[in-house]
Symmetry: C2
Subunit: 404 residues, 2 copies
Amino acid sequence: MFNFKVHANDKKSKARLGKITTYHGIIDTPSFVAVGTQGTVKGLAPQDLKETGVQILFGNTYHLHLRPGEDLVKEFGGLGKFMSWYGPTITDSGGFQVFSLGRGKTLIRTRNNAEDFSLVQHVVPQGSAPLVKIAEEGVVFRSHIDGSLHTFTPEKSIEIQKKLGADIVLAFDECAPHPSSFGYTKQAMERTHRWALRSLGVSQGKQYYPWKQALYGIVQGGVYKDLRKESARFISSLPFNGIAIGGVSVGESKKEMRNVLDWVMPLLPDNKPIHLLGIGEIDDIFDAIEKGVDTFDCVIPTRFGRYGIVFVHPPQGNLKNRFRIDINKTKFSKDKGPLSKDCVCYTCKTFTRAYIHHLFRAGELLAYRLASYHNMFFINNLVKKIRGAILEEGFEEIKEKWMK
Amino acid sequence: MFNFKVHANDKKSKARLGKITTYHGIIDTPSFVAVGTQGTVKGLAPQDLKETGVQILFGNTYHLHLRPGEDLVKEFGGLGKFMSWYGPTITDSGGFQVFSLGRGKTLIRTRNNAEDFSLVQHVVPQGSAPLVKIAEEGVVFRSHIDGSLHTFTPEKSIEIQKKLGADIVLAFDECAPHPSSFGYTKQAMERTHRWALRSLGVSQGKQYYPWKQALYGIVQGGVYKDLRKESARFISSLPFNGIAIGGVSVGESKKEMRNVLDWVMPLLPDNKPIHLLGIGEIDDIFDAIEKGVDTFDCVIPTRFGRYGIVFVHPPQGNLKNRFRIDINKTKFSKDKGPLSKDCVCYTCKTFTRAYIHHLFRAGELLAYRLASYHNMFFINNLVKKIRGAILEEGFEEIKEKWMK
């Protein structure tokens, strides 16, 4: 079971309300997708995810393949059941990690919302490149855990994802680094298109679970308008269940991300859900939804949470401070208010800024959890409000309220 | 408001059922006291503490004085309110940390249930002793955080504890290291007795809170029978609200701990609550309760939890394996059972050993929380069962069931 229905369109923008129905539940769109890289959303238990309004979880095939391995996950009933998350799940193809981790820090340091930073520091060995080879057949890379050699091909990626058992799986793609030349980006995009066909080809084989695993194709093409349009047209022409837009979180400026959406979105089919990979800052969320994106994933709520960077509502939060404060700062050491005045999450209803500041200063585990919980609630709550606005007063009104 | 009533005595042992009534609630005794060193029980939120059956929290004056400071805690309504724990609290005098941290690793490494190990490694600077001076007046020491000089006297310790606002506070004492000579131990004990008088003297001064802060005296005397008896008699003769037994978690063998209890307990008054400092292994708990101890605190549930050492019920858990398994071990990587088969805690009802093993292998924050939660529930649940047994079938029966 997998289907997508648009229930309402915003009057002035491309923002739309929809429902993705999966075997494991319904996702009201637009929806944030929480990232649970290694089979856990860092610092949060499944009950926290429910409480903070998470509708769907994103697992990383690269990490889960290396540890604990897809066969073990299958033995435990799939990713969701393994981690005791009973809602919908999505897995990526593994490609993003292979390329981004393989190419070293610079690629994934350029934006805050890329993959886990602590991991990255640990991953890139001195002077050696874990990414061994990119070829037509697939990619050879070294494990960041033990240096062992591994190969991902479209066939292998889909097979792993089938065993992981997510409701939505992604075609295997090459995410070219930023900056890349037009020539290399074109080459990578064309390979991605051939890999998309191979991913489609194998996706109908042996099924391990009673539920439908929807397959999304991925639009690439870097920062080049012609390539992006070509990719959008090509991927749209194939019988995917949904479409993901890749390569916008690996170094492009926010302006370039908006350009990509402007080029790509008009070419994508109206009746398929559109996922934007790796996006989750507040202004990005508004822009993506405005341009018609249905779902988007990002590690920001938990990564920022672990650093003590927490979201605050307007008017304290605004475009200039990117809706966030650093709770580590001394000025919060005696602050009796909650992290964000208008927040009704467990953290904000229960603890003061001063206490959470103290926990961060003391390096206490509870700090990471409370801040991550708040951030996760904040983002899901914002997107929920946006859904309400699309139905009621209009998207533009809520965007203006936040972005002024 | 502070009182203690014994409601039932075990038929064959000295085990007893009682209630300590404080302004912030009632503690059914015997009771485990959860340790929240820096204003948080590591990895657990207040709601977890309630769910795992915690009745009372132990805060460390040394840590809280250095960070965030007792004045800030006072401004926030006391330790409990500062950390959003609305049940009873107890603080120590700060002496144990000053002496144990000051004297370096060897002292506090000898038992698993001493103060936070990760902290200790960070605390002891190469070649320098943070403990500067012990004199009749008090103790001069350096902060493990920034090396700044601080002084604790009985007056200062009580003043800090008054500001922290716990329901139970401890007299300032010197906990002699193990091993110590008879001569040094006697000298430290006699100083502790004089400090006990000074602690009593100042305890009736200015009060910062509307509630009674009960003061406990501390019995010291190391491993020497004569000294322990002398200390028990002396401390018992003073108008303390309760009595704590110190110095049994700093290096003595389990046999020596039992000796101390055998010497001391018969000399302590029947009508005051008796607290045993720093004890919490399963067999220690049985022995302490059997000899009449009412409360005892220990960091074991959360420290072990952070290491992946988790408690298991009999028959899998037994005296030989000390009722615990190391979930990091490869043999648990495919184990579909809960951490402990007979446990009904959230962790055990929700997650498999294989999943928790995976979280530990991957270094995920959730690992520490789930294991700590389980251990905390396990210990509180065991002590609850012991309370039931004292009332019903008898203490001996439950002890035999576990200790055979």
